[in-house]
């Protein structure tokens, strides 16, 4: 199996002494849709920064489609497209110029660059804005511009660092559709995101990084199997004054009056409804409280923080 990205023993210590990465190992298969998750300051952006050669590594090995960044950096870069977290284009340049100039940096002639730019600007709904200065675009358009710019040289691996930050729900979903289409067409995608529903909806494999270490690296399916409890929110026909006592279920009222019920894995929802029926409670709608991945993520990061605390106590 070819790996789009291989990382071995990657470390990074910044000049102020901060150890951002503590020897991480990571493999992303070709064609994968991969999420790198972690709290702020965990090391996500540093990892991706090293892969994209925006950050100098301290030690370790990184290769993109077999091109080691120490021995064949240009080969690695040719296979890579990057969408950074913050806007990093000249705000005064025109949209089309930004995209075709990027293609020029990859040695693509102006004629081909214009064709490729037209293709991606149209797909991302920016073709009508091609002659506008980038500063005139909305936040969502700027994000899409960075995606078009990253794709103009047709990379095999697309890295997106928080691609939908600050983007409204409708636009976010259209960007998901676009990225899924790119993935179906063979582009390997790695993304970091704070919207865990995004990772849950799109990604097949997930790594969780915290304090510069990979604390979990597995498939989404295996990760979700670890969920022992799911929380549902039920809206009842008649408002409840207090949470009922349901045999076998923990429940409480949330701040908006919805009934919040924890359902253990393996417990059928039928028994829940039978309990509700016994108490004469009629349910008119039902939804999950938070997405499942978010629950797991929070739990893992909390566990890791507790472990780190214990190690700290021992070392002290």
């Amino acid at each position: 199996m070819t790996h789009a990205l291989e990382i071995e023993g990657l470390t990074k210590t910044y000049s102020d002494g901060f150890r951002a990465l503590r020897g991480i190992n990571l493999n992303v298969r070709e064609g994968d849709f991969f999420a790198l998750l972690g709290p702020n300051g965990a090391g996500k952006s540093t990892t991706l920064g090293i892969v994209c050669s925006l950050v100098n590594k301290s030690d370790g090995r990184v290769s993109v489609f077999g091109h080691d960044i120490d021995t064949d950096l240009a080969g690695a870069k040719l296979n890579l497209g990057v969408v950074p977290q913050e806007f990093n284009f000249n705000q005064f340049e025109k949209v089309l110029d930004i995209v075709t100039t990027q293609a020029g940096y990859y040695g693509i002639s102006l004629k081909k660059a214009r064709q490729s730019a037209e293709k991606y600007l149209k797909k991302l709904g920016l073709w009508e804005k091609r002659d506008s200065p980038a500063r005139m675009l909305s936040g969502g358009m700027k994000r899409r511009l960075m995606i078009a710019r990253a794709l103009v040289h047709e990379p095999r691996l697309l890295i997106l660092d928080e691609p939908t930050a600050g983007v409204d729900i409708e636009l976010r979903r259209s960007m998901w559709d676009f990225l899924e289409e790119m993935n179906r067409q063979g582009t390997t995608i790695i993304l970091t995101t704070h919207y865990l529903e995004e990772a849950e909806a799109m990604c097949r494999n997930i790594a969780i990084i915290d304090h510069g270490e990979i604390i979990r690296h597995t498939s989404k399916r295996d990760l979700l199997k670890q969920l022992s409890v799911e929380t549902f929110l039920l809206d009842t026909e008649e408002p409840l004054e207090s949470a009922p006592s349901l045999d076998g279920f923990n429940c409480k009222l949330d701040s908006e009056g919805s009934l919040e019920v924890e359902v253990s894995k393996g417990t059928g929802l039928n028994s829940l409804f039978m309990e509700l029926e016994k108490q004469g409670i009629k349910v008119v709608s039902m939804r999950t409280k938070a997405n499942r991945l978010e629950e797991l993520f929070v739990r893992m990061v909390e566990d890791n923080a507790q472990d780190a605390g214990k190690v700290g106590e021992v070392m002290a």
Binding site: V55, N56, N90, Y106, G107
Partner: protein, 257 residues
């Protein structure tokens, strides 16, 4: 990247640089034309007519090569320093850093961009000067080689300044406190033969003196220094600054964490 790809990348950087300084032409192309016109009127016509000859030429004719060179130097430098630092500031430098463009192409592209502006201004100032005086070229190859190499040298200087700069103040310190005094004291407005021996010796330590005089030799055929020594010095400086720039790029000084 193959040779054709490298050429495309190189020309892409130049085109973007030219697009930048032509887009903001009221800030880049117009001011030197206005300033030099004032220089020609005040120093050349009004004051120059009372000074008489210098180096065997009218004062106006004497200062024209120096003023052209001064414009080339300051504009080559300021184009690269402001463009590259702005890219750092806006982080659009990352567009280049993630691409497979080798460092020497990045450097060559920026230097060529600085030269494009410096030489354009040099041409504008030359055309303006023709409205005030007659110019005949004594040695065309010397004129062309000197102006191209000087422009390249100060583009390199601007590049290093931009790499080291961390705030906007840093990109104006060198032009204001180093470049301008050295240019004014580099024989633009006078021949160092007018100075006492001690100050003539001090002036010989000013690298800009050699560039101004090399260029003046190409146009008028007079110079305070050997023009071939001037060319040799420019080439030595270019070699040194190129090596420093490439080393800084390889280390990612100021552009990679």
């Amino acid at each position: 990247m193959n040779l054709q790809g490298l050429w495309v990348a190189f020309t892409t950087i130049i085109v973007r640089e030219v697009r930048r300084f032509t887009r903001i032409w009221p800030q880049t192309l117009l001011p030197p034309a206005v300033t030099m016109t004032l220089y020609f009127i005040i120093f050349g016509n009004l004051i120059g007519s009372r000074i008489g000859e210098m180096g065997g030429y009218d004062y106006m004719q004497f200062i024209v090569p120096g003023l052209i060179m001064m414009s080339v130097i300051t504009n080559s430098y300021s184009n690269v320093v402001s463009s590259f630092f702005s890219m750092k500031f806006q982080r659009s430098i990352e567009e280049l850093l993630v691409s497979p463009v080798p460092n020497w192409i990045i450097l060559a592209g920026y230097v060529a961009g600085g030269m494009a502006r410096g030489l354009s201004i040099g041409l504008i100032v030359t055309v303006v000067s023709l409205a005030f005086t007659h110019l005949s070229i004594h040695n065309l190859p010397m004129v062309v080689i000197t102006v191209f190499l000087t422009s390249a040298l100060f583009s390199l200087g601007g590049f290093i300044n931009a790499m080291l700069a961390t705030k906007f103040d840093d990109i104006s310190i060198v032009p204001t406190f180093v470049l301008t005094p050295l240019t004014y004291l580099g024989g633009v407005f006078y021949s160092i033969q007018l100075l006492p021996d001690f100050w003539q010796g001090v002036s010989m330590a000013n690298p800009i003196l050699y560039m101004v005089n090399g260029f003046r030799y190409g146009i008028l055929g007079v110079s305070d220094v050997n023009p071939f020594v001037s060319l040799g010095m420019i080439l030595v400086f270019i070699t040194i600054l190129t090596a420093i720039s490439l080393r800084m790029l390889a280390r990612g000084k100021g552009i990679r964490h």
